[in-house]
């Protein structure tokens, strides 16, 4: 029987097969399957809807670039620079992604640390307010002081903070450490200008002497870079001092790779040549009360001595000085780096001093006085705005972090050491559970870019005061909290009554706009048609607000020259500069830490706590931007230390260690380790990847709170 059944089976199978093939079924099936692969249910489908174009401005960094948004059904799908305005950076181009970033917070949270990982549990806004009020009470009771860390000073919300703090022990608003333009405070101190601030007039400068200002990596207004890269380079020269062969160095006319930490000596050396060869503006320089002492001091720093310390050839120093003098006006910058922060006070004093002897103060193409924007409301008493290093250590009992309009990269330790021993309470306003906010105990979710009205006061490098407004394009998400109303709530809870009739941030901004309108100075630049009309021609405050909301910018009238009370070239850094001027040759590297760690970052990597996940195109999917885990060495250095490219290693400083991958590049200064401060896993949207110790946390912090360079070593794993 067996074979009989087998035969039948075979027949059946064969018949079935043939029958199936003959039927249309298989063909139809394959076709359907192929079509199916083209619209798998899990492939996202782009939105459909009516196309509109709306104007706003980018609030993701202080530059406040104009933005033209292409919207579908009212929601932006792409951002670009309007015709005639500066192009957007990667951060700005992807700003409309941020409201949907995985790190986005939609409810107040309490941050707890378990198994050395951070966890968030939602809390009610009320609880946050009560706890904050309690902390304020405790501070009043003598536990410590209260401070606000403001990542974007100059916004009208700062006035709200300042009036909240005015009554509190040691209450002060701290400008975010290492932020762009921070060094101008030093120059302002040297000039002791009593009101307003200084503005940079790149427009008319013929030479830009940049000490580490990463102009090509986003520093100051993008217009400057455009001017440097634009076809008509002829009329502006760039001299760049930087141990890194950075993009800025690439576009510089002269690159001076001074040894890290010797910038002050180089500045003094340049001053020496300028004075010796009588290339300075005597009249302006003589205004300085300590000019005699200054010239005596710099006279010690001959080009040769400077060369020995900085590693820049003497004749290069001399040539540079002459170049500067030849192409005046020449503005000298002590540029902060988005990753490396600012130079120490002494260095800044030495560098910026050059401006004073070149007579840049109050001269076109130099530094102009810039009256402050009108305050949003009058207030009897306001807490001061200070630099972090003006706070005593271990003093702050309650720290409020205002990261509602952006963030900055700095070692948390510079702030942490200001907190009282027990740590105190840290409350952050931030849209994301990322960046500085991760160090807070409580986080209140602020709206993101495009979700609310943001204020764009002039960048530090604008010659005159300006104001723009970033108009919201997306309805604010549920669970967000407005910073101003949070201030109000806290004030109410701790029975502080705040001046002014404002409830929300918009109110503050509107009030300020109204005041600008009342002042009546300046003009309104419309992005749409590039037309500029005097403010006087704008009928009502509301009309002005409307214009600004439409992407226009208010610009103050050209300002009067700088009224300096008492110019000082050495100021409070005199002592240190004396020591430096002895030119005790370059600070010896300790044998234990033979390398110099140089953390640096382009601005678009740090200005916001998070970036669009699409930025992986630059960091992960290509090697254009180095990952924060890549330590780059000069091949020679690597050979000396027997480190091979591609190997894993541990980068160690006195402050700690992180795991890195070694890379080599001829562009790196021998003995230096370059590390890019760039978005980590969370900032790029990988909420599940384990968070690594960040490079800044192991950087050494100098006495004036800087972290540009640290002694380090690499140990191959």
């Amino acid at each position: 029987m067996t074979n009989v059944t087998r035969r039948n089976l075979l027949k059946l199978a064969g018949g079935a097969a043939i029958g199936f093939m003959a039927s249309p079924m298989p063909w139809r099936l394959t076709d359907e399957l192929a079509i199916w692969t083209q619209n798998w249910s899990w492939i996202p489908v782009p939105p459909k809807g009516e196309v509109t174009t709306r104007m706003t401005a980018c609030s993701l960094c202080p530059s406040g670039c104009a933005v033209q948004a292409r919207c579908i059904g009212g929601l932006p799908v792409s951002l670009r620079a309007p015709a005639g305005s500066a192009a957007l950076c990667s951060l700005g181009l992807t700003g409309h992604h941020l409201p949907y970033h995985p790190a986005r917070l939609l409810a107040p949270v309490r941050v707890t640390e378990r198994a050395d990982a951070l966890h968030t549990n939602p809390v009610r806004l009320g609880e946050v307010v009560t706890e904050t009020a309690a902390a304020i009470a405790a501070a009043k009771a003598g536990l410590g002081t209260v401070a606000v860390l403001d990542m974007r000073p100059g916004r009208s919300i700062s006035w709200a903070w300042r009036s909240l703090l005015s009554g509190l022990p040691g209450g002060a608003v701290i400008a975010g450490p290492g932020r762009e333009g921070a060094s101008l405070a030093t120059l302002e101190r040297m000039l002791a200008i009593e009101s307003g601030s200084l503005g940079l007039d790149f427009e008319h400068a013929r030479t830009i002497v940049s000490f580490g200002a990463p102009l090509a990596d986003g520093w100051g207004s993008p217009r400057t870079l455009q001017r440097l890269l634009g076809g008509s380079r002829g009329n502006v020269r760039l001299i760049h001092v930087d141990p890194l062969r950075s993009p800025t160095a690439e576009i510089a006319d002269r690159w001076l790779p001074a040894r890290p930490g010797t910038e002050a000596v180089l500045a003094l050396g340049l001053a020496h040549v300028l004075i010796a060869e009588n290339l300075v503006d005597r009249a302006a320089a003589a205004k300085a009360v300590d000019f005699e002492r200054y010239s005596l001091l710099v006279s010690r720093v001959t080009a040769e001595k400077a060369a020995a310390v900085t590693g820049i050839a003497a004749d290069a120093i001399i040539a540079t000085a002459r170049e500067i003098a030849r192409a005046m006006p020449a503005v000298v910058l002590a540029g902060e780096d988005a990753g490396g922060g600012r130079f120490g006070r002494a260095a800044e004093t030495a560098i910026l001093g050059l401006n004073l002897i070149l007579g840049n103060a109050g001269k076109g193409g130099g530094f102009l006085a810039r009256p402050d924007l009108p305050a949003p409301f009058d207030s009897a008493s306001l807490a001061p705005v200070q630099d972090l290093d003006q706070l005593p250590d271990r003093s702050v009992a309650l720290l409020l972090i205002d990261a509602s309009a952006g963030d900055a990269a700095f070692p948390w330790r510079v702030v942490e050491r200001k907190l009282i021993a027990k740590g105190g309470l840290v409350v952050a306003l931030s849209p994301f559970f990322a960046g500085t906010a991760r160090h807070a105990n409580l986080i209140v979710p602020a709206p993101t870019f495009l979700e609310a009205m943001f204020e764009l006061p002039a960048g530090f490098d604008a010659p005159a005061a300006t104001l723009g407004i970033s108009a919201p394009l997306i309805a604010a998400r549920e669970g967000g909290a407005d910073p101003a109303s949070f201030v109000r709530a806290v004030a109410a809870a701790s029975r502080i009554d705040l001046p002014g009739a404002w409830a929300r941030s918009e109110d503050l901004i509107k009030a300020r706009v109204a005041r600008i309108h009342r002042v009546g100075r300046g003009s309104v630049m419309s992005i749409a048609d590039g037309a500029e009309k005097p403010l006087a021609a704008v009928a009502t405050p509301d009309a002005l607000l409307e214009a600004l909301m439409g992407g226009a910018k208010w610009e103050d009238a050209p300002s009067p020259s700088v009224q300096s009370m008492k110019t000082m070239l050495l100021g409070d850094a005199a002592g240190e500069l004396e020591r430096i001027s002895t030119c005790a040759t370059a600070p010896k590297q300790s044998p234990q830490y033979p390398l110099t760690l140089l953390p640096r970052a382009p601005r678009d990597a740090t200005a916001s706590a998070v970036v669009s996940p699409v930025i992986t195109k630059l960091y992960r999917e290509s090697v254009l931007r180095r990952s924060p885990e890549t330590a780059v060495l000069n091949p020679a250095t690597a050979r000396e230390l027997r480190l091979r490219a591609g190997r894993k290693a541990s980068l160690e400083t006195a402050a700690g260690a992180i795991g890195v991958t070694i890379a080599t590049s001829g562009s790196v200064m021998p003995g230096a380790v370059e590390i890019a401060v760039s978005p980590g896993a969370i900032a790029l949207g990988d909420m599940h990847t384990a968070v690594k110790m960040e490079i800044l946390e192991i950087c050494a912090i100098d006495e004036s709170g800087g972290w540009r360079q640290s002694a380090a070593r690499l140990v191959e794993a």
Binding site: N3, L10, A34
Partner: protein
């Protein structure tokens, strides 16, 4: 092994090819390399058929069945892997619907599928002669009739095979964007087209020899007369000699004319370790000329040991050649600021291939157990 392999295949099909270690630079990897090798070795099927049915070398009747089964396994296995290798297997049939006749790959696809069908048909009579199936009279009769038309099929098979073996070579020879692979040629065919045909038909018989020997070792039975081995060795040997000859000429032309025209520097191709010039030497001499001579000598001296070593070397040689064409081509950078790259297959890739290998072994041993792969087997048992 089969199980793990199937699991790996599942992963690749469901989760996508991110399961492999291939990347945008190594668009081809282990799979393509082994496919090419396997198909080259599978050439034994058509070439033995060609010798037997067209050139009437009747001694080879002793191995034809085994050769056909081998061919069938090699081709079906290769196609199986290809189906996993492509990103959208469900669209495989597009090639037949929107063929780009200028693409070597189209030719390969068409020929391989046709040839697999032919192999299946050639396989059928062997199956139908099974002791149980033959009791069904219609099968036996059909087999008988099929057998009469076999030469036609053999001819067709030969034609197809010649073409796709060639096209597989053309696959790389036409890549003018890859100076390392690009070759001048005749008419529309780059030289690799012909070299691949030669190397395939040269190693095909060698592979048949090796497998036959292996099977008889494992089953500890004598399967074919020594004379058959000798013929295979002889054929393989002489073809290999011609191959090496042409390969040598081709290499010289390539290094001295083709490459300079593309602006590339030949020396740079071998500047990256581990792919030094030794590769070239191994490819042409160590695994080309040497086995050829060994094979011929072995056939002459009637020394089976020599024939076997020669065959093994020859098979290794064709594998090396396919490896160079596939992997080294992709490893060598074209842009100056692009790095030299290497890649290691992921376990999924390896497992997938092992699964196919397992399938081959199983299918072959089943065929060996139930079908008469070596007609003379019984006789040789007797005396």
């Amino acid at each position: 092994m089969l199980g793990i392999g199937l699991f790996a295949i599942g992963l690749c099909l469901i989760k996508g090819l991110n399961q492999t270690n291939m990347d945008n630079r190594f668009a081809f990897g282990l799979w393509i390399f082994l496919d090419l090798t396997v198909i080259a070795l599978g050439a034994g099927a058509f070439f033995t058929g060609f010798l037997l049915y067209i050139l009437r070398r009747d001694e080879l009747r002793a191995v034809i069945n085994s050769a056909v089964v081998l061919g069938f396994i090699c081709y079906s296995g290769a196609i199986l892997v290809l189906m996993v290798d492509v990103g959208q297997p469900l669209r495989a049939w597009f090639t037949f619907w929107h063929p780009n006749v200028h693409s070597m790959l189209t030719e390969v696809t068409f020929c391989i599928t046709c040839y697999l069908a032919v192999l299946a048909i050639e396989y059928a009579p062997i199956v139908l002669r099974n002791r149980q199936l033959r009791k069904v009279p219609s099968f036996l009769v059909f087999e008988f009739e099929l057998h009469k038309v076999m030469p036609v099929l053999a001819a067709v098979g030969t034609f197809l095979s010649f073409f796709h073996q060639g096209s597989l070579g053309g696959l790389y020879g036409v890549l003018q964007g890859r100076p390392f692979a690009y070759r001048d040629g005749f008419a529309i065919w780059p030289s690799t087209f012909f070299l691949f045909i030669l190397s395939a038909i040269a190693t095909g018989p060698a592979f048949v020899l090796v497998t036959t020997w292996a099977v008889s070792k494992i089953s500890s039975k004598r399967l074919v007369q020594p004379s058959v081995y000798r013929i295979l060795a002889m054929v393989s040997g002489w073809l290999l000699v011609t191959y090496v000859g042409f390969k040598g000429i081709d290499t010289l032309v390539w290094l001295n004319r083709t490459v300079p025209r593309t602006g590339a520097i030949p020396a740079q191709f071998y500047a990256w370790q581990p792919f030094g010039t030794w590769v070239l030497f191994a490819e042409i001499v160590l695994f080309g000329l040497v086995p050829a001579l060994i094979l011929i000598a072995g056939a002459r001296r009637r020394s089976f040991a020599l024939q076997l070593t020669g065959s093994l070397l020859a098979c290794a040689g064709v594998a090396l050649n396919r490896f160079v064409m596939t992997i080294q081509t992709l490893a060598v950078p074209t842009l100056k600021f692009e790095p030299f790259m290497l890649y290691w297959p992921s376990w999924q890739e390896v497992a997938t291939f092992l699964a196919v290998a397992a399938y081959g072994v199983i299918l072959y041993s089943l065929s060996f157990r139930y079908l008469k792969l070596f007609p003379h087997e019984r006789d040789l048992q007797q005396y």
